[in-house]
Every structure is written in structure tokens, then in C-alpha cells.
Assembly symmetry: C2
Homo-oligomer: 218 residues x 2
């Protein structure tokens, strides 16, 4: 169970709050992008970054000389937000229109992954997450590449999750209006693979297992 | 042309920087969600909110009694980030894997839309953005509903845009590896509409014009 802290307490829409860590993991795994909040003297800055999970940590990576990475590795408190938009709820009144979404807000401070083998392991985990089996297909990172890459991790200990997947909620007095009501779903479809010219003669790898029904066959 | 300020200057990946305001508008219009950064005494907080554009402003809305909305209406500097993930670039080395994405980072302070007619106009604009023609199909907001809704606006004057849509960038020494290289595209597909039981006998509205090729017919 995700525990509630002062920062993760949900004030509005408590019926959307979810406390199952598996749901948190699923949202992070599907999102790919974390929106990361940082302080600056000119106000807050929100930066989108690729983020992936291994067990109970979330990881980001970047160039060793990136100012953002150097700031984040100091370990100051930050916030990573993951959001998946699933569609519109089209009610009979403009007022009751709403959205289907899943979101996770994670708080904490980053810590640098210093050890080369550990860096290599979590980076390969990311490649496998995107394209299962791909670490067997490509040239893996060498020492120079690993040294040029900074990897930061943050524990998934303080987080809140909201899932909004409710049906149409109309005022009783609107139910007899001749207005069509329902849901307009949004889905992410992945694939088909688009080879570079030089790869058109190579057998196409099968990365569909990572995407299930979201995979789009040619 | 979007102008560069201290906050919008892009340090890394300058080849991805875009200064065409039409591209900024397109990213906001397609994103639907803004990740908004706010300061708190416990560190930054990033909240996903529905956001839409009318001309040169971006709008958000929420309940009048929402703590977040009350905080944002004070007009302190904030940051709204919009991100669309378009796919993976699968290179022949793990190191050169990268992402296709479009993102916009907007800075400024919110201002409350006080006037009822203006609130009504921009809220209806949002409904039309989601589902063109729908303001003719549904009951529009009454005075009580408008009074319960807070609308905030922020001018699109300070923003940076990054678009990454480049092909595979491999080291020359890797080009002869027998590794498949190319792009794994991600697309958002919208529809088909899912009616509530009571609407199954009503003619289905056509909202596909807002989505073009992204619309999924049954």
C-alpha cells in the first residue's frame, strides 16, 4: 500500500486515489516520460525526461556534462509526474465533461548510480523495456560510453496515484435531453517498425511482446 | 518567432530547438495536458492539468474551491510543459538509442478570467476543441456552473519548443553490424465513440474532423 504523506495527500477527487503499488508501477512503465520539477531563482521549471523503473526505483539518464543532470544529482527534493491520457467523458451538459486519465506523482531526491556495472545493468534494462531482446541485437555500451552517461535513481517510496475511469455523470434533470453521451477513448498504438534503408534486408525483430494489444501490425 | 530569454534558452540539443509559434500552438493543441510546476515549502510539485489554447493564451480550469487553482491565480511565476512522445530511434548501439518527441515549455504567471461571458466563451472553445460541434449538442453551462468554475489564463509569450524527429545516428564503425536499425513509432488513436446505454439509439455525432487520420473508425 502506498502511504499518505503531507505531499501525497489527495485533496480533490479522493474517489480517484489508488494505493496499490502495482498501479503506480504500471503507470510509470507505460508513461516513459517523467515531468520533473526543479526550483530556479526565476520560478519552477518542469522538464520532460525519459524515465524507467527497475524494481522499486525510477531511473533517468543524461550526458555527464548536462547542467540539469548535475543539478538533479545533488539530491534536492524533486517531483516526478507521470500522466497517461485515456479519453474524454462526453456528458449531456458542458459542465460535466471530464477526462479519463491515470497519473502518478512521485516525490524524493535523486542519487547518482556510480558503479559502472550497475549503470550498465539499469541502462540495459531500459533498452529491454522498450524492445525486449534488443540487448542481444545491438552493440552494448563500452566503458567510454558508460563514463559519458550519468544515471540517477530515486526510490519509489513517496507517491500518489490517481485513476479516473468513471462513466458519464449527468445531472438527473439532463438525462432526458436528446444529447449523445459516452466516452471518446484515446489509445497509444505502437509500431509497425520502420527500418532504415540499410536494414530493409535484415529480418525484422519482434518487439511486440512488450506492447500486447497496443502493437500495430503492418 | 519565439524569442529566447534566460529561461527558454536551450543548452543541450540545440539542433532540436524550434522557434515557429505555429509549432508551439500545434504541440499545445495536441497535448491536452500541461504539467504545471509550483513551489512548495517541501520542494517542487508538478501537477498534470487539462489545458487548452485560444489564440495566444493557454487556459486551465478547475473548481472555485480548489487549493491548487487558488494558488495559481495569485499569478506567481510558473512553468507549463507539454510533451508528445512519438517513438523510439533504435540504433545499432545501445548508446545511440534515442526518442522522437515534441515538447513545449511555457513560462509566465496566470491571471483569472473574471468576466462570465469570457469564461463561457473559452470553456466552450475547449469543448469544441475536443469535439467540434458539441456545444450545439449539449446543455451549455448555466450561471451557477460558471460561478463554480475558475478559469485561469497565461499568455504564450515566453516559451521554448523542442522537436526531435531525426533518423538513426550510428557510429560509422557500427554501420556494418548485422543489427536491425530504424524507428518504432508511437501514435495516439482517437475513437471510436463508446455510447452510454441510453445513447445507443441516438445518431452518433461526428467528431472525427478534429482528429484527421488519428480518428479510428469502427
Amino acid at each position: 500500500m502506498l502511504s499518505t504523506t503531507k505531499r501525497t495527500e489527495i485533496n480533490k477527487g479522493q474517489h480517484k486515489a489508488v494505493f496499490d503499488p502495482e498501479q503506480l508501477n504500471a503507470i510509470i512503465d507505460e508513461s516513459l516520460i517523467a515531468h520533473i520539477g526543479i526550483h530556479s531563482t526565476n520560478g519552477p521549471i518542469v522538464i520532460p525526461m525519459l524515465a524507467w523503473r527497475v524494481d522499486n526505483h525510477v531511473y533517468i539518464h543524461g550526458a555527464n556534462n548536462s547542467r540539469l543532470m548535475r543539478d538533479l544529482k545533488k539530491g534536492e527534493q524533486t517531483c516526478l509526474t507521470f500522466t497517461l491520457f485515456d479519453g474524454w467523458v462526453l456528458a449531456r451538459s458542458a459542465f460535466h465533461h471530464s477526462a479519463h486519465y491515470r497519473s502518478a506523482v512521485v516525490f524524493g531526491g535523486f542519487e547518482q548510480v556510480e558503479e559502472k556495472e550497475e549503470k550498465d545493468r539499469v541502462l540495459n534494462h531500459f533498452v529491454e523495456h522498450i524492445a525486449p531482446g534488443r540487448t542481444q541485437h545491438v552493440r552494448l555500451s563500452n566503458d567510454k560510453e558508460l563514463a559519458a552517461t550519468m544515471v540517477l535513481k530515486l526510490p519509489l517510496t513517496e507517491a500518489s496515484v490517481k485513476i479516473s475511469n468513471f462513466g458519464v455523470n449527468d445531472d438527473k434533470s439532463d438525462l432526458d435531453l436528446p444529447a449523445w453521451a459516452g466516452v471518446l477513448p484515446y489509445r497509444t498504438v505502437v509500431g509497425p517498425l520502420e527500418p532504415v534503408e540499410a536494414s530493409t534486408h535484415l529480418p525484422e525483430p519482434d518487439y511486440s511482446t512488450a506492447y500486447g494489444k497496443r502493437w500495430h501490425n503492418r
